[in-house]
Amino acid sequence: MATDKPKLAVHKFSSCDGCQLALLNLGEPLLALPGLVDIVHFAEAGPNSPNQAVDISLVEGSVSTPEDIQRIQQVRQNSKLLVSIGACATSGGLQALGNFANRHEWMTSVYSDPEKIEVLNSSDPISKHVKVDLQIQGCPVNSTQVIGALRDLLSGVAPRPEVHSVCMECKRKGLICTMVTQGEPCMGPVTLAGCGALCPAAGRGCYGCYGPAEQLNDRSISDRFEQLGLDAQAVLRRFRFIANSAAGFKAASEGLRGDTDG
């Protein structure tokens, strides 16, 4: 269908495919999407024109091979706006744990023939290689975030990114604090809102899958976790988790590492 509708592409890099599901899991509203945009590339759904010029590209996944670098540069050239979605695209993802380790050693222990597989030394966020117009954190991002951003961008309105922590979502929902009342080590105070405070709602501490909030006091929360009985390694594991290489969490874990080493 040749139309003058804005063109949308969905690109996948190294990921679990879970962020694309923010679209594929829309249910019946998915059928309304082609009314808003012309979907020219979305391999998992069918349309397959990766090199066409588009108005908006949604990019899932991290950059982890030499070929990925060329591909993301191509995507950038073809896109008026590039939106990176999810922990992999915005911070390298869980697989960026490999950035803290000896990646070569890991490859050797996983594959009998590692030299046949070309990979970079790190798992990178999209923004390390090209300019990104909007980042949406979350592992996974949800439909509300993605559709909200698309709506804003298509209407020519600047999206207003979330800045608060999960604590604010608990307050909005009237949830009782799991850390104060149950002594659960909860990452909510340092984690970006947007998930709907799912873990505190389920009676467990937040585990930080939406990545760092804008202003985080990692020092203070680490001390609190230790008072709750976590040892230094266990505190480190809380930061070095899903969004381990997002700036705020990475700095926090390196600070802790310095403490424990010294």
Binding site: N25, G46, P47, Q95, L97, G203
Partner: protein
């Protein structure tokens, strides 16, 4: 006899599969000379990440291997840790985990049948294109998919990387009122799911029976989902901890995934394999729906796997209703599971087939080593074998475009999940 062409078909990106894969096919002098299903999803080395993490953290980490079947990963992991500790979950927990797993089968099968596979059978580029001519069918598929997602979210807060499963049970039990509303929606969906079986059975299938081995879990008491022994149609019947004695993983030169073989042969895992081995354990109400539709199980025609998914989709709803009736909120949704040092084994039936995990855990409950064998790597050998046989039967003198479409359709019959299939440890790792 037509003159033989030399054909090179290269499908750089397979569409409507999860993750990134490619197919290379060379036909020289009327014979298939080279056939590679290339999986080039960059390796994420998941098994290395989980080293040094707590058991409950690992349950949340392995979900990230696959956005389409995170529940399966969480269930295989939690089963492994609980078995190691000699822990038997409470009957309420066992029932509710099965319901949650039914939610994943429901959403994954609905997604695959309608959005990924049906466009092949009906000749469309995508489900969105198909929706113009088949609006009711596509709408039904999306409604069923949403129902499955909501069933997962009832236990896990969200359907992608849900946050509900923990050692010993669930973090929180769903409220009775939520269960009541869910039951009504499940009841209302049953006729839709029944219609779906008829709709898939009425599709036009190539006549393409092949000889292959089916492998699935088997549970004496029910149609196996979350636990069981590993069986094959050829007499294999083992506890999951002996997987390594019978199944071997090998790295293929053209892929970042490892192939897995049973006694040096390719085999099938997934919905069709499950129906081939366990059809008799489906409730009579479910089996009855297959009467008179012209397809019966066991079947060795892989194109019937879309019907197998439709049957399992119906069964998932039927089973969820059965288990949620008379729902009562438990006093405690979990019990603590003591940390025990040793080798933990877990295996469950992911929507796409058996998902086997091994974890070596220390006495503080920290994972020190992991190995994960997902369904797609197990099916990879069978997919390649099938493409070769199917294309020969289809006729290698068909046009390149027709050969390409047929090969892609064969691949999608397996619903490969390529994101899952790229993080494996090499064969023969010796551990003390």
């Amino acid at each position: 006899m037509a003159e033989h062409r030399d054909i090179h078909i290269n499908v750089p990106v397979l569409t409507r599969v999860e993750g990134e894969g490619a197919l290379e096919l060379d036909i020289v002098g009327g014979e298939i000379e080279r056939l590679n299903l290339r999986i080039f999803e960059p390796p994420r080395l998941f098994e290395k990440f989980v080293e040094g993490y707590e058991r409950n953290q690992v349950i949340d980490m392995v979900a990230r291997i696959c956005g389409i079947c995170p529940v399966a990963y969480q269930m295989s992991a939690v089963q492994a840790f609980e078995r190691l500790s000699g822990f038997t979950p409470d009957p309420w927990v066992q029932r509710m985990r099965r319901v949650m797993y039914c939610g994943e089968w429901l959403q994954s099968h609905a997604l695959h049948v309608h959005l990924l596979a049906a466009p092949d059978f009906l000749g469309f580029e995508s489900a969105i294109a198909m929706a113009a001519d088949y609006p009711d069918a596509v709408r039904r598929g999306l409604q069923l998919q949403t129902l499955g997602n909501d069933l997962i979210a009832m236990f896990g807060g969200r359907s992608v990387h849900p946050v509900g499963i923990r050692l010993g049970g669930f973090y929180r039990a769903p409220d009775g009122s939520a269960v009541e509303m869910m039951l009504q929606r499940l009841q209302a969906a049953l006729p839709e799911a029944e219609a779906l079986i008829g709709w898939t059975a009425g599709l036009s299938f190539p006549d393409d029976d092949q000889s292959f081995i089916s492998v699935a879990l088997s549970d004496p008491d029910e149609y196996a989902i979350g636990q069981g022994r590993l069986i094959s149609g050829q007499g294999l019947d083992i506890d999951i901890c002996y997987f390594d004695s019978h199944f071997k993983e090998i790295q293929s030169p053209h892929s970042t995934a490892l192939h897995c073989e049973l006694e040096e042969r390719a085999y099938l895992t997934g919905p069709l394999a499950r129906l081939n081995l366990n059809f008799h354990q489906l409730p009579p109400e479910v089996r009855r729906l297959m009467e008179g539709c012209g397809i019966s199980f066991p079947s060795h025609n892989m194109f019937h796997s879309i019907v197998a998914r439709a049957i399992e989709l119906y069964f998932a709803i039927f089973e969820a209703i059965r288990l949620l009736q008379d729902y009562q909120t438990p006093a405690q949704p979990y019990r603590e599971v003591e940390a025990v040092e040793g080798n933990a084994f877990g295996c469950t039936e992911a929507p796409r087939g058996i998902l086997w995990h091994r974890y070596d855990v220390d006495d503080a409950g920290i994972v020190r080593y992991a190995r994960i064998v997902p369904p797609t790597s197990q099916n990879q050998g069978r997919i390649e074998e099938d493409i070769a046989l199917s294309l020969q039967k289809f006729g290698l003198d068909q046009t390149d475009e027709k050969l390409r479409l047929r090969a892609e359709q064969v691949i999608r019959n397996y619903d490969p999940c390529i994101s899952c299939a790229t993080h494996f440890l090499k064969l023969n790792v010796n551990r003390g």
